[in-house]
Symmetry: C2
C-alpha cells in the first residue's frame, strides 16, 4: 500500500478511498464535463475497476494536502477517441510510461493528477495511481476535455508538458523533451499516429506548489458529485439535466434531434483528430430553430439560428434528456436527441494565455473570445 505510505509521509490524515460506486459516479460526471470528447467511459471505467479487483487502493487527496516539493505527473491518453473504441488498451501502456518517465527524470513521481475531465482520462489516471501505488490529487488540467497536449491550465500558467512519455500496447515508447509545448504536442501526436491513432502518455511533471498554482482544483470532487446527482435523478425519475444545470451554473441552450453529421476522414486531413460538424433541429421549446455544433474531438462552438452561443474554452455538453448520458463526438449519430448544456469555463482557463492557447482563434475561428455568460444574455 505505497499510496498510504506516501500520504503518511506527507502527514495527510484525511483522504477518500475510491470504491466501485465512486468510480462509476466520477466517470459519469467526468464524461458529462468532457464536452463530447474524452473517450468511451466504458473503457476508462473497466480499466479502473480491474485495478480495484486486483486488491489495489485508489486514494483521492485534496491538493492542499500535497507538499510543495512532492512530484506529480499526468497520465492518460491522447489521440482520436474513435480509434480508442476500436483499439482498447492492453493495460500495461501507462506503467511503461510511468516507468520511462521516472527513469528519464531520475526521481520518482509520487502522485497522479488527471489531465482532463473525461470518460477515459479521469478514471484511467486513477487506475494508474492505484496500480503504481501513489495517491490521486483532486484536480485536473482543464475542468473539461480538450484535444491537444498543451491545452491545459498547467501549461498556460507556466508548467511545461515535458518530458512527456508516450507508449502503445506493443511497448513502443516515445519521449518528447522540449520547452516548446507545441513541439511536444507535435512529437506526441506523431507518435500517436505512428501507433495507429492513440498513444498513452505520462507527462507534465510538476511539484505540489506548481500543481496548486496551476491546476483546476477539486474538479474530481465536482465530477463525483455531478455523477452522483445524475444517477440519483435517474433512480428517482427526476430530470438529470436540472441536476447538471444547478451544480454547474450551466445554461440549457438547445434541445433537438441530430439531422446531419459532416465528419472528416483520413489521417492527412484530420491529423488524428475526430473532426466535423453536426446540425440539430429543435424540438419542444426550440421547435423551428436550428443549431450547428463544430467539433475537434470535443464540441467546440454552438450556433443557434446562425448566432454564436458558445466558444472554447466554455463547455458545450450534449446530453441525453432522459438519462443525462453525454453524447460524444466519436459516437454521435443521425437521429440522436440531445439537450445542449453550456457551462462557463473555470476562471483559471480564461486568462489571456488560455484564450491564446485554446480560444476560438486557435481553432481557426476569426473572432475574439466572448464568455458564454455574455453570449447567453437575453436568450431566454
Amino acid at each position: 500500500m505505497a499510496a498510504r505510505d506516501i500520504l503518511a509521509d506527507w502527514g495527510v490524515k484525511e483522504f477518500r478511498e475510491i470504491d466501485r460506486a465512486a468510480l462509476q459516479e466520477i466517470t459519469l460526471g467526468a464524461s458529462i464535463l468532457a464536452t463530447g470528447g474524452g473517450g468511451d467511459p466504458e473503457i476508462g471505467l473497466l480499466w479502473a475497476l480491474s485495478v480495484l479487483e486486483e486488491g489495489k487502493e485508489i486514494l483521492l487527496v485534496d491538493p492542499d494536502d500535497m507538499p510543495d516539493e512532492a512530484l506529480a505527473a499526468i497520465a492518460g491518453c491522447l489521440g482520436a477517441a474513435l480509434v480508442l473504441t476500436e483499439k482498447p488498451p492492453g493495460g500495461r501502456e501507462l506503467f511503461w510510461c510511468y516507468q520511462a518517465l521516472g527513469r528519464y527524470l531520475g526521481k520518482p513521481v509520487q502522485a497522479v493528477v488527471p489531465p482532463e475531465a473525461g470518460g477515459v482520462n479521469t478514471p484511467v489516471p486513477m487506475a494508474v495511481a492505484g496500480a503504481v501505488g501513489v495517491p490521486v490529487i483532486d484536480a485536473d488540467g482543464m475542468g473539461r476535455a480538450f484535444p491537444e497536449l498543451q491545452m491545459t491550465s498547467f501549461y498556460i500558467h507556466g508548467v511545461s508538458p515535458s518530458p512527456t512519455v508516450a507508449a502503445d500496447e506493443k511497448g513502443h515508447v516515445t519521449i518528447a523533451d522540449t520547452q516548446d509545448a507545441l513541439m511536444a504536442e507535435r512529437i506526441i501526436r506523431n507518435a500517436a499516429m505512428a501507433y495507429g491513432g492513440i498513444s498513452w502518455i505520462a507527462g507534465y511533471p510538476m511539484t505540489g506548489k506548481q500543481l496548486k498554482e496551476t491546476a483546476i482544483l477539486r474538479s474530481i470532487s465536482l465530477a463525483w458529485e455531478l455523477g452522483r446527482r445524475v444517477m440519483e435523478a435517474r433512480r428517482k425519475h427526476l430530470d438529470p439535466i436540472e441536476e447538471v444545470l444547478s451544480l454547474t451554473k450551466g445554461y440549457r441552450a438547445f434541445q433537438g434531434k441530430i439531422v446531419d453529421i459532416n465528419r472528416e476522414f483520413g489521417a492527412e486531413k484530420t491529423k488524428g483528430f475526430s473532426l466535423g460538424r453536426i446540425t440539430m433541429e429543435g424540438i419542444e421549446e426550440f421547435k423551428g430553430h436550428k443549431a450547428t455544433i463544430d467539433f475537434q474531438n470535443e464540441w467546440l462552438t454552438l450556433r443557434v439560428d446562425g448566432d454564436l452561443r458558445c466558444m472554447p474554452p466554455d463547455l458545450i455538453c450534449i446530453l441525453d434528456p432522459a438519462t443525462g448520458e453525454p453524447i460524444r463526438t466519436d459516437i454521435v449519430r443521425y437521429g440522436y436527441r440531445g439537450t445542449v448544456v453550456l457551462i462557463p469555463a473555470y476562471e483559471r482557463m480564461r486568462c489571456p494565455k488560455g484564450i491564446e492557447t485554446f480560444g476560438p482563434r486557435y481553432f481557426g475561428y476569426e473572432c475574439d473570445y466572448i464568455p458564454v455568460e455574455k453570449l447567453m444574455e437575453g436568450t431566454g
Copy 2:
C-alpha cells in the same frame, strides 16, 4: 583528456590521433563512399575541425581493442541532406543527444561509432567523440550511406537502434525506445520532419562484443586511405577514379553528362527524403548510351540503356572525373559531368536480413537482389 583515460582503462596502447589533414582525408573518402548521400562534407568537416581547434583530441581505435562489455553508440544526423545545407547545425545538438541517451540508459557511453560513411556522418561522430572525450571506433554501420535508421549492419545482425535520441538546434529532444526498428525509424523520422527536415541523433547503444560482431570493421581506415589517395592523385595530376577503383575493387560503369533531373518535392510525398531520378548521356567510351539513376537520399539503382547494372546495397558513386569529388543527390544539377563507379557492398551487408532491410524490394523495385559483380559480368 577523458578519451585517453578510457583507452588506458581498456589497456589500449595503439591508437591514431586524428589531425586536420586526417579529418580532411577521412571526410573526402567517406563522402565518396556515401553513394550520393551523407550530406555536405563541408558541414561535417567544419564541425570536426572546430573541435580540434578547441584543443580536443580525436582518437581512433581498432574495434578489436574495444572491450566486449564497454558501451558504444552512434551519433549523426538523419533527414534530407538538402535541408542540412540550408539549416546548418548549431553545434550543441549531439551533446544534448548524448546527454539524454546516457541519462535514459542510466550508464555512460564510452565510445562513438559512426553510423555510416558520409560527408557528415563520418566526421561529425568523430567531432562528438572529441568533444565528449571518448574514443572513436574504426568501424561504421553501413560502409556506405543509407537513408533510414534501421538500414545498418548493426540492425540486420541483431542490435536494436533503441533507445535513439533525436534533437535539433533549438534543444527539442525526442527519444524512441522500441524493439520494433521500423517504428523507431518512423518516430525519429517524424521528429526530423517536426524539426524542419533534419534531426541529430544518438542511438544504437551496443557493447564492444556486439560492435565487433555486427559493424563494418575498419571502414574509417578505408575512407582515410581512399581520401589520401584521391588527394594525392589530384596533386600529382593522376586519375583519381583509378585510385578509387583499385582500392575498392570497383567498376567504371558509365561516364556522361547529366541531362535531366526529376526531383520530387513536398513533405507529404517525399516524407523527408531527397527523392528522384537523373538521366545521363554518355560521353567518351560511353557515347551513344544513356544511363538513369534513381535516388532516395542516396543513389539507389543504375540502368544503362535500360539494363540494371547495380542495386542496393551495392554502391553507386558518381564522381567528378577530374577531381574524384562525389556528386551528391542534394546538389546534383543539369550539366554536371560524372563517372559512375560501382562498388560491391560488404559481405556483412549482403545477408538475407540485409537484402530484406535495404535490398531492391524494400525500395519498391519488383526484383530480387543480384550482386553488382554478376550484373557487370561481360559488360566491359
